[in-house]
Symmetry: C2
Subunit: 155 residues, 2 copies
DNA sequence: GCTTGACTCTGTAGTGACTACAGATTGTTA
DNA sequence: TAACAATCTGTAGTCACTACAGAGTCAAGC
């Protein structure tokens, strides 16, 4: 099959498939005479694996590790369990952070109930104060289980 | 004060301050003869406002809107409430998504209790199947209250 | 006056995981 | 043969920064 069909079968955009190839997650497939990529069922399986992992919000680096285990079936899988436990820990931590954030936002919202002029808006005035106990922000704009690239803001 | 002191006072990296200036969130300040930026208390207040908003995980575009209200104090602040309500909604939605994800990860983890060879690892085998009901993933790798730039994966 | 070291300047590139597009080529159907 | 779909490579953009390189500025000590 060609890239379009692989994309349809695995619900993956064509650019994403080529991106995975560039990133070394998907091996470079054979080509037709006209230089079109040709895939078979092994590619479907591998891409399904990757997409399933991504749907569970694993980072590509984590997926790389899991793929290495898939490629070495006699290896002991203990590290797979460890990786998954760590990932579950990250997700749980992010949930706790977001809940704290939600609480802060709701208490901020309570400062202004009816519309009035902006100069007297309790929300805007509160926001002008430095924030109290530092964001629980693990990666900026509610992103990033893993902390990620983004800066931590802890005033 | 110069940029270093502003950074210390507001717990903001120098590069971030310059970035906000480039982005138009912070007005370009006066300069010394030697071309150093000089800030005063109004800048401290404005930057504190921005950082406080960021610590609440608002996007810079949302903060831009709030700043417009701060700059027009006679305007009605009803839209501030609307924006905040929407933001709270996004956070709440992301928490729901992450909880669903946590459940999926835990049930995946249950498939392999003791370390064995990778070929028989229930986790790796399960991941090779296409994912069941599509990720609740609102932005890739547990990022993004706002959905953001990232792709949604819903197989 | 000179040196040292801290501070600041501009500009560019990198982060993650893609997405979007331009411009060219290939394949399929009428 | 022409039209059109599919694919190719390569580059740039997303968000909110961070990290440098290489140059210039400033204050304190000698």
């Amino acid at each position: 099959m060609r890239i379009g069909e692989l994309g349809r079968v695995t619900c993956t955009q064509i650019e994403t498939i080529r991106y995975y190839e560039r990133e070394g997650l998907l091996a470079a497939p054979a080509r037709t005479e006209g230089n079109f990529r040709i895939y078979d069922d092994t590619h479907v399986e591998r891409l399904s694996f990757i997409r399933h992992c991504r749907s569970l919000d694993m980072a590509l680096d984590e997926i790389r590790i899991l793929l290495r285990f898939k490629d070495a079936p006699t290896e002991n899988c203990g590290d797979v369990n460890t990786l998954l436990d760590a990932h579950i820990g990250h997700v749980a931590a992010r949930i706790r952070e977001l809940r704290a954030l939600e609480g802060q936002l709701k208490s901020l919202r309570d400062r202004c109930h009816e519309a009035q002029d902006a100069a007297h808006c309790g929300i805007l005035n509160e926001l002008s104060q430095p924030s109290r106990q530092g964001a629980t922000n693990g990666g900026g704009h509610v992103h990033g289980v893993h902390g990620g690239v983004r800066a931590r803001y802890t005033p």
